[in-house]
């Protein structure tokens, strides 16, 4: 098993596609929550091989896209404090805040460094004892445990110049908020694979039970998505609604207990502001009091001013699944990956970026 080519086999794909076509009788709309799934769906042209009974919409599962401008502004303001080094995952650099981006302030002299792991950020702190290193904690349940681990490591090693700006968000509460809003009628949910690797499949049960919507946890290869759609269609045609895992090589029903323990130890839930969705109770993570010395919100006096939303940008509607990038007049004209207006065009997992790069409107 090499875990890649087998999951891109055209023969197996053909079989799954014809099964889906045979089975699917009832019109249904599925949402893929996760931006990683959105990319796979566009990269392999999956929407075009599905029967006309199935309508797919993208959800809010791109952590950078859902980060509110007010929070981005905080990160940009932190970067401009003298003797502060910002350590961040690369995707954040180009995201426009209200007035600037990390990339722009970096060009003007701010010390912003791209890292691939939180432990690299910790190393920067160790190597620069005279400076303060702030790691931008952006992500879902997937990244939160490693960031929690970095705080525990910093405490153990007595590193006193390492801070985390925790902008983490939790997935199940926001799905509840979307379903409660009643704006999008969904008949099936493709649950995020990596998030579920941490939290397991149990936290999705409420969707199947309270809302009667079938849920299947999917992996990220084209065959994973097809298999997941196939299972959703089967549930619908059988009149069922339950939570199933199509991504068994990555996800267990109970999740990763060790990672969950780390998260629980360092963070507690708090209300969080989601772009386009607004404040969702218990959908954020903040650093617990016991670890306050590592909390950038506490350590620094940040005043980024009031946030400003770019005129005409409909990222918020796209994130709720109410509109698609093709409904936006800025798309492809004013807003492109080279000069993005909204975050969904910047992040590699953003819907607008996937539509633009892989030709979501191309019929040839």
């Amino acid at each position: 098993m090499k875990f890649i080519t087998e999951f891109r086999s055209s023969e197996l794909a053909e079989g799954l596609i014809s099964q889906i076509h045979r089975k699917s009788k009832t019109s249904a709309r599925f949402m893929e929550f996760c931006g990683g799934h959105t990319v796979t769906i566009f990269r392999y042209g999956i929407r075009r091989v599905l029967p006309s009974t199935i309508d797919m919409v993208s959800g809010p599962g791109c952590p950078i896209c859902v980060t509110a401008n007010a929070d981005l502004d905080k990160a940009i303001a932190l970067a401009q404090i003298p003797e502060v080094i910002i350590a961040t995952f690369g995707d954040m650099l180009k995201v426009p805040g209200s007035h600037s981006s990390l990339q722009e302030v970096k060009a003007n002299g701010a010390d912003v460094r791209m890292v691939y792991s939180t432990m690299d950020a910790l190393k920067i702190a160790e190597d620069n004892p005279g400076k303060s290193v702030v790691f931008l904690g952006i992500g879902f349940e997937t990244t939160a445990p490693t960031i929690a681990a970095s705080i525990l490591q910093a405490e153990e090693n007595g590193i006193k110049n390492y801070y985390v700006l925790s902008l983490h968000k939790l997935c199940p509460p926001v799905i509840r908020a979307i379903l409660d809003s009643g704006e999008v009628k969904l008949h099936g949910l493709i649950c995020p694979g990596h998030v579920s690797a941490i939290i397991g499949s149990h936290p999705w049960e409420f969707i199947a039970q309270d809302y009667g919507i079938p849920c299947v946890v999917s992996g990220f290869e084209p065959l994973d998505i097809l298999q997941c759609v196939n299972m959703l269609v089967a549930q619908i045609e059988n009149g069922e609604s339950k939570v199933e895992i199509a991504y068994r090589r990555g996800v267990r029903p109970e999740g990763n207990q060790q990672a969950l323990k780390l998260m629980e130890e360092v963070f507690e839930t708090c209300p969080a502001e989601w772009r386009g969705i607004g404040e969702v109770p218990d959908s954020g993570l903040k650093v617990r009091k016991e670890y306050q010395p590592f909390d950038a919100e506490v350590a620094f006096d940040i005043d980024p001013g009031s946030p400003y939303e770019p005129e005409g940008c409909i990222c918020g509607d796209i994130l709720r699944g109410v509109k698609t990038p093709l409904d936006c007049w800025l798309f492809g004209k004013v807003c492109t990956p080279e000069s993005p207006v909204g975050p969904c065009m910047v992040s590699s997992e953003g819907s607008c970026s996937a539509y633009y790069l892989y030709g979501g409107d191309f019929e040839g």
Binding site: S9, P337, G364
Partner: protein, 334 residues
Amino acid sequence: MKDKILLAHGSGGKLGHELVEKGFLKAFANPLLAKLDDSAVFDLSGRLAFTTDSYVVSPIFFPGGDIGKLAVCGTVNDLAMSGAKPLYLSLSFIIEEGLPQGELNQIVSSVRKAAQEAGAEVITGDTKVVHRGSADKLFINTAGIGIIPEGVDISGGNAGPGDKVILSGSIGDHGIAVLSQREGLSFSTQLESDCAPLGSLVAEMLKASLNIHCLRDPTRGGLATTLNELAKQSKVSIRIEEEKVPVREEVLAACEMLGFDPLYVANEGKLVAIVPAKDADKVLKAMRENHYGKGAAIIGEVKAEYPGRVVMKTCLGSSRIIDMLVGDMLPRIC
């Protein structure tokens, strides 16, 4: 000789002369360089190709090569992509003070070997040494001159509907090999850069057919960017099939891990050829007989509709657009 390069090596004095005589002259021994005049003087007649490039790869040593080999291969390959046989090279070293003499010697020796294989001579050069921090160890600037055989007319604007698109081997090897050595990212892989001079491969291809329409080496920006350039320049669309594009399993795995698409990862020893359909099999056969074209494959064809677009048939039988690389995926890989 000193064991580190000092600012004095670049000041035109004794140390500099020692570096030239013991380092460069010996390695690149040829009569045009040995004269040590301010310029190399020679006769040439025919259609010439002339190119220049700069090399700033980091790290300067990577699996399968180093900045010296890369500089020669990159330059002779640019000449070869016009169908030219590479003849002469210039080489300028911009060295950060403190570079170990041993590392410089190793790079000069790589330059010598690569130039020898490519059949080109280094006939002029320059050395500058800059303060620590003003360069990253070593930058190399080159120029190259080559001669184009009679009857050859290769340009990115020559692709026409019906032509076949041939790729000379697996993609992404160079970019991933260099990346695997990066600080903060290093991962272990057996993968080596594909860095190689392609002059002999091109010569064999031209022997098979003088009708080759386009040649291009998919370096920075990868195969996707090269195909987009050709589609735009020739005002045609290019359609390729995902399953026909060779990618090593290690490259696929690294790309998955890092979130890259192999179509955008750099190559330094591969070429894309666009040839008339009737000559495609002949050219493909000639390529497969050359060491650097063993993995060659026809990956797609040229169409008239949707000019400027590159479209790929995915493994699911669906199709999608392939756009140019946006921004900077991998910093300083060449």
